[in-house]
Structures are given as structure tokens and as C-alpha cells.
């Protein structure tokens, strides 16, 4: 097992983030990470660097990375890197780490980040903390304090990586705001040249099949409208779909809905589904089993509509409506449409 660690003579410095390309542009989470990274780099008095691995990376996106806080952008751009493949991605990051020795490296807890980061950290014997909701520098030691929920969000654990470098962490998307853009901010773009052997991958990308048009993924949506057992049928999701559509949100579902086949698994929220942190989570007809609550605890706002005044979902709601979703939702949709068509906020 190759290890770049226990090398105290090496000076590990700088904070790195991993940007992600989505289609032709950068995934917004790339900019969210800069917010996290900037405060860590400032606390360490070091530089903030971003690595992009992709194909045909947009020039405008590069300057946006700098204007939102990156001091250095390491650009790895090759047509063969258009699609995520864990082996070349991990090899590239491993090489960059060996060359530049970042002391901290953070990536988004997306399917890409949660695949490449553990694959990489295992190889280089670095500590990695998954799905952090809080990152800060411990003043006395300069070490990265990584806070993450575990056991369905019922405990918060703070984790440190005393010796191994870099200190690696993935960060939950949507858990930070994108930092303000500072037009004209200076930074350096370093294009990284690669040798042929880097591109070898035993897994071959065949094709990508996007979900039905208009459907946005629940982890990335700002607004998630979710239905539970109280929805009763697949057709019961109609008002939920309509509301999600007019708010440009995504549709979520509790486990019973998925088990009954009313919604596909990709929409399941909770311990055996997805963890979501939208700006608004609206739970309709969801009683709030602990596994479901575990998946929504980090939502910024929660509205619950349920006929049962004692439903546990109300324990977690910022606004609770005791009533029938089939009464409330049509009324709500009508009101929102009226506001939208009148054009005022």
C-alpha cells in the first residue's frame, strides 16, 4: 500500500476544494465549497485552491471560481475526462496531492465526491470524514474540526485527523451559501498536463440517461415538496407534483410511498433514501417516522401538513398545518399562481 503520509518533513499547506462539472458548466456546489474553503484558508493564513477535472471547462466558470474566492485553479481538462470515472479521477487527484501537498481537501458529498474521495483516501492513507455539516479550524492546533451527523442525525460527532495529510472531508451540498462574487479578483489558473497512462479505467462509461424533463433531483432542489402515506395513491401525488412544478421544486416521498410504487426510489427521503437540505421542505401527509426525520433535519425550513395533530412530523416543523393536504394544496397552488402571474413578490 502506497502511502504519502508520516512525512513530517513535507510542508502540507493550502486548502483545496474539488469542483465538479455538470454538462458543460460547473455544478453550483463547486462555488458552495469555496465559501467553506475560504474561511478555512483565511483561518490558516493559506491559499484556497480549486481542482477541476473535466472536459471543455467553460472560461467564464474559471473566472467565477476566482471571483468567488479561489486563489489558484488547477485545471485538468481533457475530452477523456468528460464523464466521471473513479480510477482516472483518483489517480489525478493523487498525483496533484503528491506534487503540491494540500493540508486540507474538501469535496461535495455528491455521488461523485462520495465515490472518488474514499477511493483516493484509502490509497494515500488519509483520514476522510463523510458528509460534514460543519468545518472549522481549531485555533490551538490549526487542525480541521469536522462535524457530521450520525445515527440518523441523532448525534453530532466532531472529528479530527491529527497526523495524516491531507485532512479530507466531504460536505453536504446546500449546506452553505455560495459566496459573493468579487469582480476583478485576482487568481491564477494552472493547466495540468497529464501522461497517457492516467486515463486508464477498467470501468467503461456507456451512456447517461437523464430523468424525465423538469424533474430535478431532491438533493439539489431548493424546495422539496414531499408526500407520505397520507397521499394514499399514486394519483394523490398530483397536487404535490403541481405545487413542486410551480415552485420549481422537486418531489420527495417517504418510504411507504416508494414501497407502494407511488414514487420511484430516487425520490425517497430518509435513512434508507436521500438526506436533503433544501431551503424549504414541505411534508404532506407524512407522519414523521424517525427514519424520515433523519433525512430532513438539516432543511432550512420545514412546513408540515397532516390531519393527525399528534404526528411526530410536527416536532420538527417550523410551521405546522393540522388539516387535509388535499384541501390545503389546491388552495396554496392557486394563491402562488396568482402571485406569480401578478409578477409581484
Amino acid at each position: 500500500m502506497k502511502t504519502v503520509n508520516n512525512q513530517h518533513e513535507i510542508e502540507w499547506k493550502d486548502v483545496w476544494t474539488l469542483a465538479e462539472q455538470k454538462g458543460e458548466r460547473l455544478h453550483p456546489v463547486s462555488f458552495e465549497l469555496l465559501g467553506r474553503g475560504r474561511s478555512l484558508a483565511d483561518a490558516r493564513g493559506s491559499r484556497l485552491c480549486t481542482v477541476i477535472i473535466g472536459s471543455g471547462v467553460n472560461r467564464e466558470d474559471l473566472s467565477e471560481l476566482i471571483e468567488r474566492g479561489a486563489d489558484v485553479v488547477y485545471l485538468v481538462d481533457d475530452p477523456r475526462l468528460a464523464n466521471f470515472l473513479v480510477e482516472p479521477y483518483a489517480k489525478i487527484l493523487g498525483l496533484l496531492i503528491e506534487s503540491y501537498h494540500p493540508e486540507i481537501m474538501i469535496a461535495a458529498a455528491t455521488t461523485t465526491g462520495r465515490t472518488v474521495m474514499p477511493y483516493l483516501s484509502a490509497k494515500i492513507r488519509a483520514g476522510l470524514t463523510a458528509d460534514c455539516t460543519g468545518l472549522e479550524i481549531e485555533p490551538e492546533t490549526g487542525l480541521l474540526l469536522q462535524t457530521r451527523p450520525a445515527i440518523g442525525g441523532n448525534i453530532l460527532a466532531t472529528i479530527k485527523t491529527p497526523n495524516a495529510r491531507p485532512q479530507m472531508a466531504t460536505v453536504r451540498p446546500k449546506s452553505t451559501r455560495i459566496p459573493e462574487r468579487q469582480p476583478g479578483r485576482a487568481g491564477e489558473i494552472k493547466r495540468i498536463e497529464l501522461t497517457e497512462d492516467i486515463f486508464a479505467s477498467r470501468v467503461a462509461f456507456e451512456r447517461y440517461v437523464p430523468d424525465a424533463e423538469g424533474a430535478s433531483s431532491i438533493e439539489e432542489a431548493d424546495i422539496v415538496i414531499a408526500g407520505g402515506a397520507g397521499v394514499k395513491t399514486a394519483e394523490g401525488f398530483d397536487p404535490i407534483n403541481q405545487l413542486a412544478e410551480c415552485l420549481r421544486g422537486a418531489v420527495g416521498a417517504s418510504r411507504p410511498c416508494v414501497d407502494h410504487g407511488w414514487q420511484p426510489y430516487a425520490h425517497q427521503v430518509g435513512l434508507s433514501g436521500k438526506t436533503v437540505s433544501p431551503r424549504l421542505y414541505m411534508a404532506c401527509g407524512i407522519s414523521g417516522a424517525i427514519q424520515h426525520l433523519a433525512g430532513i433535519q438539516t432543511a432550512e425550513s420545514i412546513i408540515a401538513i397532516n390531519t393527525d395533530p399528534n404526528a411526530s412530523i410536527f416536532q420538527l416543523a417550523d410551521l405546522g398545518i393540522v388539516g387535509n393536504m388535499f384541501d390545503v394544496l389546491p388552495e396554496l397552488i392557486e394563491k402562488i399562481k396568482a402571485i406569480q402571474s401578478s409578477g409581484n413578490r
Binding site: 473513479v86 474514499p118 470524514t129 450520525a150 441523532n154 472529528i159 477498467r202 447517461y208 430516487a266 398545518i321
Partner: protein
């Protein structure tokens, strides 16, 4: 086809209630079960075996009572199992766990396919599967929602990623992590339970694995938990009760007001 399924024993969270005062989980008297997300890996392995033949071995690292989880997996249809158990393995983070499982898998002679659950419902990291692939120098396919062995002898896997599905192909040996969409796990059969009782399950410690003592358990873990706290998970929101149909409009308006106030609308 030789398949290995690494599993983890976790507390049964569905039986857990929330303490209404502290807003935290009441964990006393909670039973241990196979990590629910590992059941999908076991199910996938059994389906592949039914179609293409082969053997399935489950492997787990944990305290002696983890034996129960291994027997349950055998009762579902796996052929055998091995438990990696020793005090020295205790306190392992995901790196040290992946390392220990790597040694276990090597001692088993490797596999054509290693199937893992997406993550465990207690630690919730999803890092051990990818770490194991990396240490075994195997290709890795994560978030697999559909898997078949094509005529070419290659696996065709569908990855559930943000906003869509990625179809990839890969030849054995390979490690994959599967998600719930892959199929409904079967229940153990009576015959399976009897067979599981009779199956001898070896227990391997650090010496059996020729483990480097600086790389296992807490000692071998690059990360350290320095603080645990129980967050207050409850929120104190306003509650509006719709007593009659005429209240519906008011309730809808209060949602609008709430959204405006929080700049969501």
C-alpha cells in the same frame, strides 16, 4: 462466480423513539440487525447466483454478537461467512475498517464480485465499500440500481446519480455498492435458518490476517472522534389547526406568509 458481501451489524433504528423532552433518540433495549442497506447487496448476490451459479460468502468485522447477522445472511441464501473479530479491531474508522476487510477478503482468496450496501444506517459514511475497492485495487462502481451480467461476460450496471442514470460496463473482478432500487430483499427461509445454524463460521483475528497492528482498530485510524453531542432536533414551530373548511384559505395564506418571510417565495 465467486461473490463476497461485506456486511455490518447496526442498531435497529425503526424501533427507536424520540425523547420528547431532550429531542434525542432513546436507544436503550434496541436490538441489533443487519444494516438494512446491506440486505440489498445480499439480495443482488443471491439473484446473480440463482441465474449464473456460484458461491456467496459474507464477511463482517465486529464484536462476537455480529455472528447473528452473518447467520441471518446465510439463512437468506448465502453459502458461508467469516467474522473478523478481536478487541484490537475496535474503534476503527472507515480507513482501518476497509484495511481489515481487505485482509479478510484476501484470505478468502478474493472474489469476482464484491457487493456492498450503499452505506450503513448508523455511521452513514458510505466510505468503507469504496475504500475496500481501492485497497484491493479493484475497479469500483457505486450507487448501482440495476445490475446484469451481459453476454460478453461483462457486468452492465446502472448508477443512480443526481438527475439521471449512468450506464457503465466492467469486467470481473469488481466491487460495487448497490442501492435500494435493485430489488426487494427476501426473507430467510426455514431451511435457510436450519442451514445457517449448522454452518461453521470461522472467526479471524489480527494474527490470522497477518495484520499490521499500526493499521487496525483505533491505532490504525487516521481520524479521531473528539466530541459527541446530542443536538436538539425538535423545532418549535407555529401550529395552525384547520377546524372547518373556511380555515383552509387562512392556512394556505399562512404558508404563503411563511415562505415570503423566509424569502422562499
Amino acid at each position: 462466480m465467486k461473490i463476497i458481501v461485506p456486511i455490518k451489524q447496526v442498531p435497529e433504528t425503526s424501533k427507536v423513539k424520540m425523547d420528547p423532552v431532550s429531542g434525542t433518540m432513546i436507544r436503550t433495549g434496541v436490538e441489533s440487525i443487519i444494516n438494512p442497506l446491506d440486505l440489498y447487496a445480499i439480495e443482488t448476490a443471491i439473484r446473480l447466483k440463482e441465474k449464473h451459479g456460484g458461491t456467496i460468502t459474507v464477511i463482517s468485522m465486529g464484536p462476537p454478537q455480529t455472528m447473528k447477522a452473518i447467520r441471518e445472511a446465510i439463512a437468506m441464501g448465502c453459502d458461508g461467512g467469516v467474522l473478523l473479530s478481536d478487541k484490537a479491531f475496535g474503534g476503527a474508522d472507515t480507513w482501518a475498517t476497509a484495511y481489515t476487510l481487505t485482509l479478510g477478503v484476501r484470505k478468502l482468496g478474493g472474489a469476482d464480485l464484491i457487493l456492498c450496501g450503499e452505506r450503513a444506517t448508523d455511521g452513514d459514511t458510505g466510505q468503507v465499500g469504496p475504500g475496500l475497492a481501492s485497497m484491493l485495487d479493484l475497479p469500483l462502481v457505486t450507487y448501482v440500481g440495476k445490475l446484469e451480467l451481459a453476454g460478453s461476460g461483462k457486468f452492465l450496471a446502472e448508477r443512480l446519480v443526481e438527475g439521471g442514470r449512468e450506464i457503465v460496463s466492467v469486467a470481473a473482478p469488481v466491487l460495487m455498492t448497490v442501492v435500494k432500487e435493485i430489488g426487494v430483499p427476501r426473507l430467510p427461509t426455514l431451511r435457510g435458518i436450519l442451514r445457517a445454524k449448522e454452518t461453521e463460521i470461522p472467526v479471524w483475528g489480527p494474527a490470522d490476517l497477518e495484520a499490521d497492528s499500526t493499521l487496525i482498530g483505533l491505532n490504525g485510524s487516521p481520524t479521531r472522534v473528539v466530541r459527541i453531542h446530542h443536538p436538539q432536533v425538535t423545532r418549535t414551530g407555529e401550529k395552525i389547526v384547520i377546524k372547518e373548511q373556511s380555515n383552509v384559505e387562512k392556512a394556505a395564506q399562512s404558508i404563503i406568509d411563511f415562505m415570503k418571510q423566509r424569502n422562499i417565495l
